[in-house]
């Protein structure tokens, strides 16, 4: 096991790693930017090193500074958390060349699953279904129509260089496709300087279901079943739960098996997530792999009883996972609400600032993962996550009741948070009936 590791992250995930290390008897070196100086979680690390100014590009994202900190901190490995450098295969390579362990997959596995095209190829190789679509860029309107007819309308046009919804259009028939093609192409050219467009089957009201995997360096890959992250706002996950409430057991098993196959094909180890979308007929399609620990990992920890962070550190140190797939059984139901410093009354704009008072909820079935304490200042430079409230109860109904109770008990004074939005979702009949897809929150807010 490592004697000392560096945590190349901040906030709640840095605290999560510190906690895991303290339990493992591993010393920790935290890094921080000037904006995070004095943050209370840093006191729980054995050492804390300032790596730069507030701007992430000059601190948390600077590979040279992080590596220097690892060197002066005299650590054997780096935990990247999520975000920042966590899925940067170059960083993982630099760690290797500096003889510093990287707590995550190999750079090769990361690249294999990280690139869109190679990930789709990988899925095909592993026999994992992907969303039907064109093999690459569509050259003409005629070709678009031909492909669309093959895969069946409605179809989605996507910019190959794209992101953030730019250059995206849905078309329900030949006629609509013609104008959508022109618009999408023009928009892509304007936004990304690249008019390349590809076509995919459009999945209406999909659910977002992902499989947590965990592998070691001895060829073992396990799955910890699924998380349903369909409750999103503008593609940002709001509420995650496990098990997925409407998923038939046979589909659940098929998805889990597919995820393990895919990870094994990529020689993937450590924690990772294989994301799928599920259509209304329970067909599932591979989307992407997140080659890191995820924000919502606690719901899987609650239902399986497995500490993912400790497991991740142990396998990075070369330990063999002492698990059997048949023993990993979900128990009860877990839900996580992401509490963000955002103002629901002003279109959820970030609301950083000083927390005058915070009282965390407690009691049976309640877990609170947060780096915020009374007096903590949420800096404006990073994501707005203030804490994660996780509940675990025997049934989904009980879990919802406990979550509502805990959200009402949580007091955060001084800044606005997403708590009211969570309460609105949890009171919604559609949510209770698990009639949730990725469009649910927007429809709820609109209606």
């Amino acid at each position: 096991m490592f004697k000392r590791i560096l945590i190349a992250n901040r906030g709640e995930i840095a605290l999560r790693v510190i906690r895991a290390c303290r339990e493992l008897g591993v010393e920790t070196v935290a890094i921080f930017s000037e904006a995070d100086r004095g943050a209370p979680y840093l006191e729980l690390a054995d050492e804390a090193i300032c790596v730069g100014p507030a701007k992430a590009a000059d601190s948390y994202l600077r590979i040279d500074r992080v590596i220097s900190a690892a060197e002066i901190g005299n650590v054997q490995a780096i935990h990247p958390g999520y975000g920042f450098l966590s899925e940067n295969s170059h960083f993982a390579e630099v760690c290797r060349s500096c003889d510093i362990g990287f707590i995550g997959p190999t750079p090769e596995a990361m690249e294999r699953v990280g690139d869109k095209n190679s990930a789709r190829a990988l899925a095909r190789e592993a026999g994992v279904p992907t969303v039907p679509g064109s093999q690459g860029i569509i050259g003409s309107e005629q070709e678009a129509v031909k492909v669309a007819r093959e895969i069946g309308f409605p179809v989605l046009l996507k910019a190959t260089a794209g992101g953030g919804g730019k250059g995206m259009r849905v078309a329900a028939n030949d006629l609509a496709l013609a104008s959508a093609w022109q618009q999408a192409s023009a928009e892509a050219q304007a936004a990304f300087g690249n008019p390349g467009i590809y076509i995919e089957k459009y999945i209406e009201r999909p659910r977002h279901v992902e499989i947590q995997i965990l592998g070691d360096q001895h060829g073992n890959v396990f799955h910890l079943w699924e998380r349903d992250c369909s409750t999103q706002r503008r593609h940002q996950k709001l509420i995650e739960e496990s098990p997925s409430p409407r998923l038939p057991q046979a589909i659940r098993q098929k998805m889990a098996d597919a995820a393990v196959r895919l990870a094994k094909t990529a020689n993937y180890f450590s924690a990772g997530t294989v994301e799928f979308i599920v259509d209304q007929q329970d067909n599932f399609y591979f989307i992407e792999v997140n080659a890191r620990i995820q924000v919502e990992h606690p719901v899987s920890e609650m239902v399986t009883g497995i500490d993912l962070l400790k497991a991740q550190i142990r396998v990075a140190a070369g330990e063999k996972l002492d698990l059997k797939q048949e023993d990993i059984k979900p128990r009860g139901h877990a839900i996580e609400c992401r509490i963000n410093a955002e103002d629901p009354a002003h279109n959820f704009r970030p609301n950083p600032g000083r927390i005058d008072r915070i009282i965390a909820p407690g009691g049976f079935g309640v877990r609170w993962d947060s780096h915020a304490t009374t007096g903590y200042v949420v800096p404006p430079h990073y994501d707005s996550l203030v804490g994660k409230l996780i509940v675990h109860q025997a049934t989904r109904k009980d879990a919802i009741d406990t979550m509502i109770r805990a959200l009402k008990e949580l007091r955060i004074e001084g800044i606005k948070t997403t708590v009211p939005l969570h309460l609105e979702v949890l009171a919604n009949t559609a949510f209770h009936e698990a009639q949730v897809d990725t469009t649910f929150v927007e429809r709820m807010l609109a209606g």
Partner: protein, 160 residues
């Protein structure tokens, strides 16, 4: 300061009133004055902002948090000192090699271009320029010691 209350009498109500007005004016939530054994500490609202000398400038509270075991009330000489800080994380060297003379020593007069030390990061030896002019008053880090971003390295007196 008027004659009536002794200069050391920090319990002069008028004085306290003026302090409070000062706080309101500056929207302070806490005020903490200490002089030898004397101390005045006032809080408003609930927020905490502390400062250690009843002087003119109001340093940012973050700075106070930043250096928890910070210096006692700085003298006037201290106040004018400039500090050359490390622009990166790495290892501090005061000379270019074990047998070389140090780039600077206490008493040297330096200009902004003058290399004052090396900070080694990822096997790269970065020469650090002074950036300021004046006389070297102190070298704050041991040779070979690790330094973090923003760590004070060398103290310079610009008026000496």
């Amino acid at each position: 300061m008027c004659a009536a209350p002794t200069p050391g009498d920090i319990f002069d109500v008028k004085k306290v009133r003026r302090l409070i007005e000062l706080m309101k004016e500056h929207d302070l939530s806490e005020l903490d004055l200490k002089q030898a054994d004397n101390r005045v500490r006032i809080r408003r609202g609930g927020e905490v902002v502390a400062y250690s000398a009843p002087a003119v400038s109001m340093p940012r509270p973050a700075a106070a948090t930043a250096e928890p075991a910070a210096a006692p009330a700085p003298s006037a000489a201290d106040a004018r000192m400039l500090v050359i800080k490390s622009p990166m994380v790495g290892t501090f060297y005061k000379a270019s090699g074990p047998d070389s003379a140090p780039f600077v020593k206490v008493g040297d007069r330096i200009g902004p271009e003058k290399t004052v030390c090396i900070v080694e990061a990822m096997k790269v030896f970065n020469e650090i320029p002074a950036g300021v002019s004046g006389q070297v008053v102190a070298i704050l880090v041991e040779n070979g010691a690790p330094v973090e971003f923003g760590q004070p390295l060398i103290k310079v007196d610009p008026e000496a």
